[in-house]
């Protein structure tokens, strides 16, 4: 990075986004409601409609398509708050990943109707990318798109598709003769099988594309570059979400350490607990730093290639560690279903695998650094 110096201080807008989101999520989507949505047999749509009314479904969608027109540093603040509240629903899938893919495609205007629908909440889009357990790299895509008249025929099976049970539209990655690209495929032409998830606040599913014919316009046209950029930006936003997840788990642990008495003293007065909390805060601040940095460099491809995996490399393990230590500091109560500690622990773990595990990001960061 040369030239301009970045500021990591929140803008006035970002302060407002944070306080509005914090208030709404605390009052309207407390953990009781999260649990209800999470345990329901069918994916919830009413919450997504509410969030769409707040402008969150189209947070990144430009105003000309009816969205809120915010940038990534703003969306990261919202993602952090949604993480703090382990809010269910397709924010990451539709409002971040699919939106980013469409905006970065050859010609977003061609998908104006889709973007408008996503912004008003009437359409949920999900990205269907992965096929193999450890197949995070676009190289691993075997699904094919073959030319058929003016259009394409898509064949393949996508797995662990985030928010698949919610989706009205899939952006599926498929291999053509001239490389990998994304294709917009309506959900009523595919077979979706919901699969139970570790983090039950987020739904997933298998999606089978059995020779699905789509018109020429279905091809996004951004190629592999757009896919990689989308996944990098996704990793940056996930890192912000992880900061929110970790900070909520940390706050719960801190509160417990202050109020739980054993041996006649607050357990937070024992150094074994106090020092762990000090380390948790220190590492949390480092995770916050890399997440803030990554979402500020999305327009600089060279820097993003370092900053996005860096954010994942730091924020993922920090969130896994803090949410785990939070259970430990709570003792037995932290292991109960009733307590919220497990919601954070599960969210952190799943989120740290969604777009690449630690080794994948580490290695990509090394490649970008020439190491």
């Amino acid at each position: 990075m040369t030239g301009v110096r970045l500021s990591y201080l929140p803008s006035e807008d970002q302060d407002l986004i944070r306080s509005a989101a914090r208030k709404y999520l605390t009052e309207k989507i407390p953990s009781d409601r999260v649990r209800e949505i999470m345990m329901a047999s069918e994916p919830d749509r009413s919450l997504w409609d509410e969030l769409a009314d707040l402008g969150w479904a189209g947070f990144l969608v430009p105003e000309e398509y009816g969205g809120s027109g915010f940038g990534y540093p703003d969306a990261a603040v919202l993602a952090e708050e949604l993480g703090r509240a382990v809010t269910p629903g397709p924010f990451l899938a539709s409002a971040v990943l699919a939106t980013t893919a469409l905006l970065g495609s050859g010609d977003p205007r061609r998908h104006g109707d889709l973007l408008s629908g996503m912004a008003d909440g009437s359409v949920v889009a999900a990205s269907a990318i992965y096929e193999k357990r450890r197949g995070w790299d676009p190289e691993d895509i075997d699904t094919t798109a073959n030319p058929d008249g003016d259009g394409w025929v898509i064949t393949g099976r996508k797995r662990w598709v985030l928010s698949a049970p919610h989706a009205d539209m899939f952006l599926v990655s498929a291999r053509t003769d001239d490389g990998v690209d994304l294709f917009a495929v309506p959900s009523d032409t595919v077979i979706v099988t919901p699969t139970p998830t570790l983090d039950a606040t987020r739904r997933q599913g298998d999606v089978v594309f059995d020779s699905v014919a789509v018109p020429a316009e279905a091809r996004l046209g951004g190629g592999e570059e757009n896919l990689r950029r989308t996944l990098d930006i996704g990793a940056a936003v996930v890192a912000s979400e992880q900061v929110g997840v970790a900070s909520a788990a940390f706050d719960m642990a801190l509160d417990h350490a202050r109020t739980r008495f054993q041996f006649g003293r607050a357990i937070g007065s024992f150094q074994a607990v106090k020092h762990r909390l000090a380390d948790m805060l220190t590492r949390l601040e480092n995770a916050r730093s890399v997440a803030l940095h990554a979402v500020r460099v999305v327009d600089d491809p060279v820097e993003l290639a370092i900053a996005a995996p860096l954010a994942a490399v730091i924020a993922g393990p920090v969130a896994n560690w803090i949410t785990g230590e939070s259970i430990q500091i709570h003792g037995g109560i932290g292991f109960t279903w009733e307590h919220d500690a497990h919601l954070y622990f599960k969210r952190a773990k799943a989120a740290s695998l969604l777009l690449g595990d630690h080794g994948y990001h580490l290695s990509r960061m090394g490649d970008a650094l020439g190491l």
Partner: protein, 392 residues
């Protein structure tokens, strides 16, 4: 004009009127002090411009880019990094006039006489005494681990002036002339073989009362200002990406023959950790205002100390059998400044990072109690007069 513009303008003028490549360092530092660019957050006339500390990184970056020598901050760190902050908050105007400029130009080196054989982490338990005698104070006692005492002109010292008061209350802070009678400095050699630090003995050493800092009995408060500044001086310096210890590790990794996926993963982990810590420092500096840094400075100190130990140890591992050597051997030397270290010495020196300036355990206590508001340990010394506190 905004503060940022004032700072920029002062830098422009300094660099134009005193081109670093044509100006001797001491002269440049004098001009830098006069321009208010030594500590921008100090008042005008005391080496500052009265603006927020957050402008400091700009000064450092622009001066470095302009080719200026900024090594005085490191070489006179106890003065420039800590003493100056103490004088700006607790000193009197004539004290600032007397001491700040020659400190910044390196004409006078400073040291910090806090630790004693019986009082380290528990600094407030110290026993060096200062007894009033008219316009003077008479010092007696022993200090230890005193970095640069052998080259210092001035020492920041905290001494007990009331042994009957509770231990934090009976302390007073002074500046002592290291050339005064009754000051004896003996080298203490470190695990590197070098003697950066010393033990210092005071026998009936006289200190004029006008070298007292702040009130009699206010020594603990002044000491806290010193330590907060110290932690920021240690952990709060903004550095370019990939510089410092990690750069040495990367160089060692790039040596022929080091091609191993396990080592690569480890290197990248450490690179990521140091980049994250670096960004956190930048963020902390962005919010820094005028005055003394808060307890948050302890997180930067803690991260940096622990990471530096890991990185330097890993660098030795990358050197393979080369890491069993020790170029130059252990010649017992007494450096006159803060030396630069080769990777083997850096590895050994790093062990001090989590001890000097407050141990990592004490940093965690501070973060836990002062930042997070957790209750302290039960204490046996709190309400006793200092005389009656049990000690080893």
């Amino acid at each position: 004009m905004t503060d940022a513009a004032r700072v920029e303008e002062a830098i422009d003028r300094l660099l134009t009127e005193h081109p670093p490549n044509e100006t001797a360092p001491a002269e440049f530092w004098g001009a830098q002090y006069d321009a208010g660019l030594a500590w921008v957050w100090h008042e005008e006339g005391s080496g500052g411009l009265g603006v927020d500390r957050s402008h400091h990184p700009t000064v450092m970056r622009r001066l470095t880019e302009g080719g200026a020598d900024t090594s005085n901050r490191r070489r006179n760190v106890l003065g420039i990094g800590m003493g100056a902050g103490v004088l700006s908050v607790h000193g009197r105007d004539e004290q600032r006039q007397r001491w700040l400029r020659p400190m910044f130009t390196m004409d006078e080196i400073w040291c910090q006489l806090f630790s004693e054989p019986g009082a380290g982490s528990d600094l407030a338990d110290l026993s060096t005494s200062a007894v009033r005698d008219g316009d003077e104070w008479i010092l007696n006692g022993q200090k230890v681990w005193t970095t640069l005492a052998h080259v210092a002109k001035w020492g920041l010292i905290i001494a007990r002036t009331d042994p009957d008061a509770q231990k934090h209350r009976g302390l007073t802070y002074f500046v002592v002339d290291m050339e005064a009678e009754g000051v004896e400095v003996r080298p203490l050699y470190q695990i590197t073989g070098e003697a950066e630090f010393n033990e210092v003995f005071f026998s009936d050493t006289r200190v004029p009362d006008d070298q007292r800092i702040d009130d009699v009995g206010a020594g603990w408060r002044v000491a806290m200002t010193t330590l907060m500044n110290e932690r920021v001086a240690i952990g709060g310096t903004e550095t370019p990406r990939g510089s410092g210890a990690i750069a040495v590790a990367v160089d060692a990794y790039r040596e022929p023959g080091v091609d191993d996926p396990v080592l690569r993963a480890r290197l990248l982990e450490l690179w990521a950790e140091s980049e994250a810590a670096r960004l956190t420092t930048i963020r902390a500096n962005e919010t820094a205002t005028v005055g003394t840094p808060g307890p948050e400075g302890s997180t930067g100190k803690l991260s940096w100390a622990e990471l530096n130990k890991e990185i330097t140890a890993f660098t030795v591992e990358l050197m393979g059998l080369g890491g069993t050597g020790f170029p130059g051997g252990y010649e017992l030397t007494r450096p006159t400044g803060m030396p630069d270290y080769d990777p083997m010495r850096a590895f050994l020196r790093a062990r001090a990072n989590s001890i000097e300036g407050g141990t990592s355990e004490i940093m965690r206590n501070i973060i836990g109690e002062r930042v997070l508001g957790l209750p302290g340990e039960p204490r046996v010394d709190k309400d006793l007069p200092w005389r009656e506190v049990p000690r080893s």
